[in-house]
C-alpha cells in the first residue's frame, strides 16, 4: 500500500516514537534524580478496585504522569513535523546542502500522493487546508449532535462511554464534549480561513506561489498534530473548562486540558506563520499594474485577517502556556490562594497574589479579534461573489476594502466586553461598551454596500449565490443580536446564557460557514475542473438555511428565558422544552445537509461533467487561466489594466495575459 508511505503516515509513526522518547526522557530524569517514576507502586497510578481504565482516567488518574505527558505531547508535534518531511529542506540547508525550489509531484508518484505529504505548491496546500477543515468541521459537528441529544429533553439521559449517569461522570463528559466542540470548530474555521487565503490569494494577485512555500507547507502541517492532540485530549480525561479554559478551573481540570493547551498552541503557531506568509505575498507579489485598490476584495479581507492573526494569536498561546506551566511547575500566575499543588512545600516567600482576571484579559485580547479572523474572509467572499452573480460592479469598493481594515483595527480595542461581569475594574465597562458598539459602523457599511450591489443587477441564483444571500441573512441575525450583548445593561442579563450561543452561532454561520460553502461551490470548477451537481446544491441550501434560523433563534429564546451556557440540564418550568427539541432537530437537519454537500463534491470531483474554463463569466484573474489550474499558474506574467469589478461597462478589461513577458515584481 502506497498510502503507508505518505508523509501523513510517516509523520504519525515518527510522532508516536518521539512521544515515547519524550515520556521516557522525563521518567528517566525523575528516576535519576531519585524521584519515583510514574509506574512506581507508591504513586497512585493505576485504577482502584471497581474502576475500569476509562473511569480511572476520567477521575484524573493520569495526573501522576502529567509532566511526562506534557513533554511527550510537545515531542509528538516535533516528531510529526520531522516525519512528515516538511522540514527536510531546512535541515538540508542547515547541513549546507543546496535546496532548489521544486514544484510538482515527484517522478513516479501518483497524482494523489502529494496531497498526503509535504508539498510546496500553494494549490496543494490550499486543498489540504480545506479538506482538513471539512473533516474537523464534521467531527466537531458530530460532538454537537451528541450533546444536542442530551439537551433535547430536560433531565439527564445520556450515559456516555460507560460513565454512570447517576454520578458526575456524565456531566464531565458533557462538559468535555461542549469544550471540544467549541475548540475543534475554531480549529476547523482557522483551517478553512487558511484554505481560502492560501488557495486564492496567490491566484487572485497573479502570483505563482506564496512568498515562502516551505513555510507555507510547515504552517499547514503543524495543524495536523495540533488537531490530533486536541482530539486526544477528549479521550485522556477530557477537560471540563469550556473552550475558554479559564483558570483556576483549568488549573484544576483533568489532564486532557494540557493536550488541549498544546494543541491550541501549535494551531496558533500555524496561524502566525501562515498570516506572515499572506502579508508578504500580498505586499510584494502582486501582478504588474495591480495597485492596492485594484486588488480583488477578498485579498483585502485576507490581508486584514492576516494582520490580526499575526499579532493577536501570540496572546492565546501565552495565556495557555501560563496555565500549562502553572499546572506542572506551580508558577502561581492565576492562583490567589495558592492551593497545595506546590512542588516546593517549604517555600514561604511572597505567597499568593495571583489574579484569575489577568488570564481573561490576555485570552480575550486574542479571542475577540479571532472572531474577526473567522468572519472577515467570509465577508470578503460575500463581497467577491455578489458582483459576479449580480453582473454589476461592487458598490463602494474602497469603502468595503477599508471597512475590513477598520473592523480589524477596532477589533483590537473591544476585548473586555467579554468581561463585563467578570469582576474587572467596573469603570472599564463604559469605554469598552462604546468601542464594541463602534464595530457596528464598518459592518453596517458592508451590509448597505452589498444591498447597493444587488440593486438593479441581473441576479443569477446559482448555488454559490444562494449561499451568499443566505450568509447575508444569517449574518444579519448575528449582527443585530450583538448590540444587546454589547450594551452592559442588557449584558448583565444575557451574559453567558444561550442567547450568547445563538448570537455566536449566527455570526459564525453567516460570517464563515455559509460563505465557506459558497466558496467551495464557486471555486469547485477551478480546483477540480468539473461542475458540481446544481440540484443537490440547491437542496443543501434549502435544508440548511431555514434549519439554521430555527436553531439560532431558538437558542436565543431559550437563553433569555434562563438557559445557561454549557449546562446539561434545564428547568422545565421555563417552558423551553419545545424550543430545545426544535433546536436539536434543526441541528440534525444541518448536519444532514452538510453531509449532502460532502457527498455532492466528492462524487462530482470524479464523475461530474467537465466544467468550462470560466463557468461564471467572472472577471477574476484566476478564471482567465485553465481549470484545474496548471502546476505553474501564470506561465506568462499577467498585467492588470482595469478595475476588478467593472461588470456592465462595455469594453473594459481587468487583466491582460500578455504573451511572453519577462520580469515581474
Amino acid at each position: 500500500m502506497r498510502f503507508f508511505k505518505t508523509g501523513l503516515v510517516k509523520g504519525i509513526l515518527v510522532g508516536l516514537l518521539w512521544w515515547l522518547i519524550g515520556f521516557m526522557l522525563v521518567e528517566v530524569i525523575r528516576v535519576a534524580m531519585g524521584l519515583p517514576a510514574a509506574w512506581d507502586p507508591n504513586v497512585p497510578a493505576g485504577p482502584v478496585a471497581g474502576q475500569n481504565a476509562l473511569q480511572w482516567i476520567v477521575a484524573g488518574g493520569l495526573a501522576a504522569y502529567e509532566p511526562a505527558m506534557v513533554v511527550a505531547g510537545i515531542f509528538f508535534v516535533i516528531g510529526f513535523m520531522l516525519g512528515v518531511g516538511t522540514m527536510s529542506d531546512w535541515l538540508k540547508w542547515v547541513r549546507g546542502i543546496d535546496t532548489p525550489m521544486h514544484h510538482g509531484p515527484k517522478e513516479g508518484d501518483p497524482g494523489w500522493f502529494r496531497y498526503f505529504g509535504a508539498d510546496y505548491s500553494h494549490k496543494v496546500i490550499g486543498l489540504q487546508y480545506g479538506v482538513t477543515a471539512v473533516i474537523l468541521l464534521m467531527f466537531a459537528g458530530t460532538l454537537a449532535l451528541i450533546f444536542r441529544v442530551e439537551l433535547a429533553n430536560p433531565e439527564l439521559q445520556l450515559s456516555l462511554f460507560g460513565a454512570n449517569p447517576e454520578v458526575q461522570g456524565t456531566l464531565n463528559w458533557f462538559n468535555t464534549l461542549v469544550s471540544a466542540h467549541g475548540m475543534i470548530m475554531i480549529g476547523s474555521i482557522l483551517l478553512g480561513v487558511g484554505a481560502m487565503s492560501n488557495y486564492l490569494v496567490p491566484l487572485m494577485i497573479g502570483a505563482n506561489d506564496m512568498a515562502f512555500p516551505r513555510l507555507n507547507s510547515f504552517a499547514f502541517w503543524i495543524n495536523v498534530p495540533g488537531a490530533l492532540l486536541l482530539v486526544t485530549a477528549i479521550f485522556i480525561g477530557g477537560w471540563n473548562t469550556g473552550w475558554t479554559g479559564y483558570p483556576p478551573l483549568s488549573a484544576q481540570a483533568p489532564i486532557g486540558v494540557q493536550y488541549f493547551f498544546i494543541g491550541v498552541f501549535f494551531i496558533g503557531m500555524s496561524s502566525i506563520l501562515g498570516s506572515l506568509n499572506i502579508i508578504v505575498t500580498t505586499l510584494t507579489m502582486r501582478a504588474r499594474g495591480m495597485t492596492m485598490f485594484r486588488m480583488p476584495i477578498f485579498v483585502w479581507a485576507a490581508f486584514s485577517t492576516a494582520l490580526i492573526q499575526l499579532t493577536a494569536t501570540q496572546l492565546i498561546g501565552l495565556s495557555f502556556l501560563m496555565v500549562l506551566i502553572q499546572r506542572i511547575l506551580g508558577l502561581g500566575f492565576f492562583n490567589p490562594g495558592f492551593p497545595d499543588i506546590t512542588v516546593i512545600a517549604s517555600s514561604q516567600l511572597w505567597e499568593g497574589g495571583g489574579n484569575p482576571i489577568l488570564f481573561q484579559h490576555l485570552f480575550w485580547f486574542y479571542s475577540h479579534p479571532a472572531v474577526y479572523v473567522f468572519i472577515l474572509p467570509g465577508l470578503g467572499i460575500i463581497s467577491e461573489l455578489l458582483p459576479v452573480f449580480s453582473r454589476k460592479p461592487l458598490f463602494g469598493y474602497k469603502w468595503i476594502a477599508l471597512s475590513s481594515m477598520a473592523i480589524a483595527l477596532v477589533g483590537f480595542l473591544v476585548w473586555a466586553h467579554h468581561m463585563f461581569v467578570s469582576g474587572m475594574n467596573t469603570y472599564l465597562r463604559v469605554p469598552f461598551m462604546l468601542s464594541t458598539l463602534l464595530v457596528a459602523v464598518p459592518t453596517g457599511v458592508k451590509f448597505f454596500s452589498w444591498l447597493g450591489t444587488l440593486w438593479g443587477g441581473r441576479i443569477d441564483l446559482k448555488t454559490p449565490m444562494l449561499f451568499t444571500l443566505g450568509a447575508i441573512s444569517v449574518f444579519l441575525i448575528g449582527g443585530l443580536t450583538g448590540p444587546p450583548l454589547g450594551t452592559v445593561t442588557t449584558d448583565l442579563q444575557l451574559h453567558d446564557t444561550y442567547y450568547v450561543v445563538g448570537h455566536f452561532h449566527a455570526t459564525m454561520f453567516g460570517g464563515f460557514v455559509f460563505p465557506f460553502f459558497a466558496a467551495l461551490y464557486y471555486w469547485f470548477p477551478k480546483f477540480s475542473g468539473r461542475q458540481y451537481n446544481e440540484r443537490l446544491g440547491v437542496i443543501h441550501f434549502a435544508l440548511m438555511t431555514p434549519a439554521f434560523w430555527v436553531m439560532s433563534l431558538g437558542q436565543m429564546l431559550a437563553g433569555t428565558r434562563g438557559m445557561r451556557r454549557r449546562v446539561a440540564d434545564y428547568d422545565p418550568a421555563w417552558g423551553i422544552d419545545g424550543v430545545q427539541l426544535a433546536v436539536s432537530i434543526a441541528a440534525f437537519i444541518i448536519a444532514f445537509s452538510v453531509l449532502l454537500m460532502v457527498i455532492n463534491l466528492l462524487w462530482s470531483s470524479r464523475r461530474a461533467p467537465r466544467a468550462v474554463a470560466n463557468p461564471w463569466r467572472s472577471r477574476g484573474l484566476e478564471w482567465q487561466i485553465p481549470s484545474p489550474v496548471p502546476e505553474l499558474s501564470y506561465a506568462t506574467a499577467p498585467v492588470v489594466v482595469g478595475e476588478p469589478y467593472d461588470y456592465g461597462l462595455p469594453g473594459s478589461t481587468y487583466v491582460q495575459l500578455a504573451p511572453a513577458m519577462t520580469g515581474g515584481d
Binding site: F212, G332, W350, G353
Partner: protein
C-alpha cells in the same frame, strides 16, 4: 515542473519583511508577559540582589556587539573576523544562559542535591511566577539563538556566505539583536522599576 526563479534581491527583501513581521508577532508575546508583570506586580518588585542581573546584562550586550561585528565582517569580506565574532557571540550567549540558570535562579549543589539558594522560588506567589516566567521565556529564545549561531558558524566554516549573499547571517544577527532588545525591556521591568518588597518569612 518548472521552477519559479526570482532574483536573489527580491527574495531577500521578502525574507527581511517576513523576519520583521515575525518580530512584530513575537513582540506581542513578550508584551503580554510585560503586561502580566505590571498587572501582577504593579509598582513593586521583589528585593533581589542587583549585581548578577547587571553582570549578565553586560554579557548579553557585549555579545550583541560581537554579533554586529561578525555581520559587518561578512558584508565586507572579512571571513576571519566573521567566524571569530560568531564564536564569541555564541560563547557569551551561553554565559548569559548559564548566568540566568545558575546565578540568577540561584541553583546550587548542596550535599549532592540541587537546591535553590536563599532566593526567590518559582512557586513564590506572583513574584516567583513572573520572574521565572519572563526570564525563562527569554532564556528559551537565547538557547535557540545559540543553536542558530552555531549552525551559521558551521556553514561559514564550509565556505558559505559572501559579501553579496549572506542573508542567513543577517537573519541570525537581527534575531540575536532582537533577543537583546527584549532584554532591554525585561531587565528594568524585573530589577529596576518599582519599589523593592523585602522577602517574607523564610
Amino acid at each position: 515542473m518548472s521552477a519559479i526563479v526570482e532574483s536573489p534581491q527580491v527574495q531577500v527583501r521578502r525574507n527581511r519583511m517576513g523576519m520583521w513581521l515575525f518580530f512584530v508577532s513575537e513582540a506581542f508575546l513578550f508584551g503580554g508577559l510585560l503586561i502580566a508583570r505590571f498587572f501582577l506586580w504593579g509598582d513593586t518588585r521583589p528585593d533581589l540582589p542587583q549585581v548578577v542581573p547587571l553582570g549578565i546584562t553586560a554579557v548579553l550586550l557585549t555579545s550583541s556587539f560581537f554579533m554586529n561585528r561578525a555581520e559587518v565582517a561578512i558584508a565586507n569580506d572579512d571571513r576571519k573576523t566573521f567566524q571569530r565574532g560568531l564564536l564569541i557571540t555564541a560563547f557569551l550567549g551561553f554565559i548569559f544562559f548559564l548566568g540566568v540558570l545558575i546565578f540568577e535562579w540561584g541553583w546550587t549543589i548542596e550535599d549532592g542535591a540541587f537546591v535553590l539558594g536563599n532566593h526567590i522560588h518559582p512557586t513564590s506567589g506572583v513574584y516567583g511566577a513572573v520572574l521565572y516566567g519572563m526570564t525563562g521565556m527569554h532564556a528559551l529564545h537565547v538557547l535557540s539563538g545559540i543553536v542558530i549561531i552555531m549552525i551559521i558558524w558551521n556553514l561559514g566554516r564550509k565556505g558559505k556566505f559572501s559579501a553579496e549573499d549572506h542573508w542567513g547571517v543577517e537573519a541570525t544577527a537581527i534575531y540575536w539583536h532582537y533577543i537583546d532588545l527584549i532584554w532591554i525591556f525585561f531587565y528594568p521591568a524585573l530589577y529596576l522599576i518599582g519599589t523593592a518588597v523585602p522577602a517574607g518569612g523564610h
